[in-house]
């Protein structure tokens, strides 16, 4: 039965996440935007609460990732609302609070999503409670992740890693980093594997932290691996060189999450703008034709429509994962729509709020800075369009470059 409301049973989780976002994240949002690189210690206590939420098995409010385990069968006549949907819904609420702080949340890193997605049972047990960052991008390779140059050479019971990684979210604060490296450059993307490298491993060094446009509460690190030796059982998933799919599968699961982050930020900006417009005497009427309303109200309707599409695409991609339907296409659609919409929405909201929205008095300017990364990381807008186009047109990456 077609119904696009968030599941009733997620109501409590959504409410908890909302309360946390409004009472914990919002009040410190501006503080840590100004104090870039300062550790938001308020999050420690909070992370423990999230752990509890996530251990409920129905997902929580962070990067719990996606796991298509055998037991996740349908609960209601073939329709399941599970951890993916809950995680996405929780993430939206938290990012309504502050997306940079959610990205800084201990044990909720994108590396955790990767571990949850591709780790075997033993690794899941071992790394389940580890705060893991994700290291893919290199100075000379961004979206073209198949071209990474960091190497992992098998040596006895270990792999030896060499290379440099940039743009690693929580790269300094996390307990471990999931590093993408090639085990054999001549074999191309099939040889790319992901390795869990724990903090303190000799040869693993945080070189520096970036100064950024937005999400300044989140540390973005440059990492160097210099003959860094990790146990062979830290290679996530299968060591066989058989396909890129293993590591890429992570994206099917993290893209809905990033889309959810975008939806949360967009909602924050829309709510604040609606409040400001109402104070200014502009009320949005859903029945009156947009062209007969105040131009600001008409603009708002357009933004809210984009938000709604992004929101539902995000829920769709998570729902498909819950129901074990292949969701690569929908995940990329959600990421593309949410990424570009959040940028449009937050920038337009600043404009609608005028000078007030542009100043640090308002969080609108911060959200407009934070939003841009959401159309970039975990696959840029253009990469999502490529994925969607290739899928629809039946084209390979060598045909449609």
């Amino acid at each position: 039965m077609i119904n696009l409301e968030p599941p009733k049973k997620a109501g409590a989780l959504i409410n908890q996440a909302y309360q946390a976002a409004s009472q914990v994240l919002r009040p410190i949002s501006r503080t840590y935007d100004r104090a870039e690189h300062a550790y938001p210690s308020e999050l420690d206590m909070f992370a423990a609460v999230l752990d509890g939420l996530n251990s409920s098995g129905e997902g929580g409010a962070g990067a719990a990732g996606v796991r298509r385990s055998a037991e996740s069968g349908a609960a209601d006549g073939g329709n399941r609302n599970g951890g993916n949907l809950s995680t996405v819904l929780g993430t939206i609420e938290m990012c309504w609070g502050d997306v940079a702080l959610l990205l800084s949340m201990p044990r909720q890193g994108l590396g955790n999503a990767a571990i949850a997605s591709v780790a075997n049972e033993e690794q899941l047990k071992r790394f389940g409670k580890t705060w893991a960052a994700m290291a893919i991008t290199e100075p000379d390779c961004g979206s073209d992740s198949a071209a990474i140059t960091t190497t992992a050479v098998e040596d006895g019971d270990s792999y030896v890693l060499n290379g440099e990684k940039i743009f690693v979210t929580s790269g300094q604060r996390a307990d471990a980093v999931v590093v993408w490296a090639t085990v054999d450059k001549s074999l191309g993307r099939a040889a790319i594997k992901s390795f869990v490298v724990e903090k303190g491993t000799p040869g693993f060094e945080v070189v520096r932290l970036e100064h950024k446009l937005g999400i300044r509460a989140s540390d973005t690190a440059v990492l160097r691996f210099d003959n860094c030796r990790v146990p062979r059982e830290n290679l996530l998933g299968s060591p066989e060189v058989k396909g890129f799919a293993g590591v890429m599968q992570t994206f099917d699961n993290t893209r809905p999450l990033v889309a959810a982050m975008a939806v949360g930020v967009a909602r924050a900006a829309l709510e604040e703008t609606a409040r400001i417009l109402t104070e200014a005497g502009v009320v949005v009427d859903y029945d009156k034709p947009a062209n007969t309303q105040h131009a600001a109200a008409a603009s708002f309707l357009e933004l809210e429509a984009a938000y709604e599409a992004a929101y539902l695409l995000t829920l769709e991609s998570a729902w498909m994962a819950d129901n074990r339907k292949p969701n690569s296409l929908q995940a990329s659609m959600a990421k593309a729509k949410a990424g570009r919409s959040v940028v449009d929405i937050t920038l337009k909201c600043v404009e609608l709020a005028g000078a007030f929205g542009y100043t640090e008095e308002s969080l609108l300017e911060k959200w407009a800075r934070d939003s841009k990364i959401l159309d970039i990381f975990e696959g840029t807008q253009q990469i999502q369009q490529l994925i969607v186009a290739r899928r629809l047109l039946g084209k390979s990456s060598s045909e449609l470059k």
Binding site: N3, A309, A389, L393, K395
Partner: protein, 429 residues
């Protein structure tokens, strides 16, 4: 215009005009109507009045809500949507170009649609129809499937359902008893739900058409625009500003004195044979008022929802058409789909289409469950208007000069999709 002329000849010879003192005003009207075409009396309407009197109105029950997010249609919905999709592919798409040129649906098409049960499905079993419970979602899926065939013809097919659905939702026992039996019979009457008026910045909540109370009922004056199959319609549901009250809906039979029609061909929706309906001193009985003042907003919203569903169907037709085209068309030695500028345009069509489809379905699901849905309809309409048109434009662009010719349907879809955002009324889910 042939039909209009024949009716006009009949009317001109009628002594009724002289007796009613209508010849002069009618002549004046005719001279002023040449710009859009000849005006004629509305179609002769059948005797709608039922023998039985009174009785309680019957309303379909709202479906239960399982409280889970779900994008899977029920088995019944899937079967209905597939059947209608087949019908659209076999009956609408091949007939669309000619209907567009001739400004009329092909002979027999609407009868076959009625046989299929497109109208009956929205009428509860208790009233002789085939519906079990209120299903706005099913109606949205039907509209989407039909519009994948052709938007103009989909409107022609769905026009009677708009009137029967209005009767199901808001008719009193008498109105349902009088009119609904015809809609569940073999010969479903042409009928039209007329909210539209040809006025810039038209607001359906402020129609210029006026309704005045008279001792015996109401008198209506005004002009309705883009009325589907206006010349054939036997029954109209018309919006008018009721003095001292607000916008309201009225049932008017086509043969009512003072009601005339004229063709009003437009940029698109031409298969729907759109026309003007003139109301001049049209007197209707007290029982012609349909629903309470509160239902008017629902009438506007459920109609807009219909247009959003139609837009998703036609937008999908664009997507399905351009994919093989850009894969087969070569330039510079390879398929043009190997170029990002082309491929990304296709990707954007798909992304925006999926978004607007989900927003439309959410609005439909909320409406059928009795939840507030004004916001969701407004957002679905906004997306259907903006993104629907963007998709229509991209469809032509991707085919280049070929898309601009009538060799391909994309130019028709471009014209049809411009109706989204303008259209009020005509369809109702």
């Amino acid at each position: 215009m042939g039909v209009g002329l024949a009716a006009l000849t009949k009317l001109a010879g009628s002594t009724m005009l002289d007796r009613a003192g209508l010849r002069r005003p009618m002549q004046n009207l005719l001279s002023s109507a040449t710009r859009t075409g000849f005006r004629a009396a509305g179609a002769a309407s059948r005797g709608f009045k039922s023998a039985s009197r009174g009785g309680e109105a019957t309303r379909p029950a709202a479906p239960g809500d399982k409280g889970l997010f779900d994008l899977t249609p029920t088995d019944e919905q899937r079967m209905i949507a597939e059947t209608v999709a087949d019908f659209a592919a076999e009956q609408l798409r091949p007939a669309a170009a000619e209907a567009d040129a001739k400004l009329a649906p092909p002979d027999g098409l609407l009868g076959r649609a009625a046989e299929l049960g497109v109208t009956q499905i929205g009428i509860p079993e208790e009233l002789g129809g085939a519906g079990t419970e209120r299903s706005v979602v099913t109606s949205a899926l039907i509209a989407e499937a039909l519009a994948h065939g052709d938007l103009g013809l989909a409107v022609a097919v769905l026009a009677p359902s708009a009137v029967s659905t209005a009767l199901v939702l808001w008719g009193d026992g008498q109105q349902q008893g009088d009119y609904l039996p015809a809609f569940v019979g073999e010969n479903v009457p042409a009928a039209a739900f007329a909210l539209q008026e040809a006025k810039p910045l038209f607001d359906p909540f402020r129609p210029a058409t006026r309704a005045r109370r008279t001792p015996s009922g109401y008198q209506l004056d005004g002009v309705k625009s883009l009325v589907p199959r206006a010349a054939q319609a036997e029954l109209f549901v018309v919006s008018a500003m009721l003095e001292g009250s607000g916008p309201a809906l009225f049932l008017i039979e086509s043969s009512t004195a003072g009601l005339t029609v004229a063709p009003e061909p437009a940029m698109g929706l031409r298969g729907a044979a759109t026309g003007l309906v003139y109301l001049e001193n049209v007197r209707v009985p007290a029982g012609a008022l349909l629903g309470s003042p509160e239902v008017f907003a629902d009438a506007v919203r459920l109609s807009r929802l219909g247009w959003a569903a139609l837009a998703t169907g036609t937008a999908k037709a664009v997507l399905d058409y351009v994919i093989p085209y850009v894969n087969e068309r070569t330039a510079f030695g390879e398929p043009i789909s190997h170029r990002q500028a082309v491929a990304f345009s296709v990707a954007d069509i798909a992304i925006e289409l999926e978004g607007m489809r989900l927003v439309t379905l959410r609005a439909a699901a909320r409406a059928e469950q009795g939840k507030p849905y004004a916001r969701e309809v407004a957002l679905a309409r906004k997306l259907a208007t903006d993104k629907g048109m963007q998709i229509g434009s991209a469809g032509v662009q991707l085919l280049g000069g070929h898309g601009f010719t009538k060799e391909h349907p994309v130019e028709r879809w471009y014209r049809d999709l411009r109706a989204i955002g303008i259209a009020e009324g005509m369809v109702l889910l």
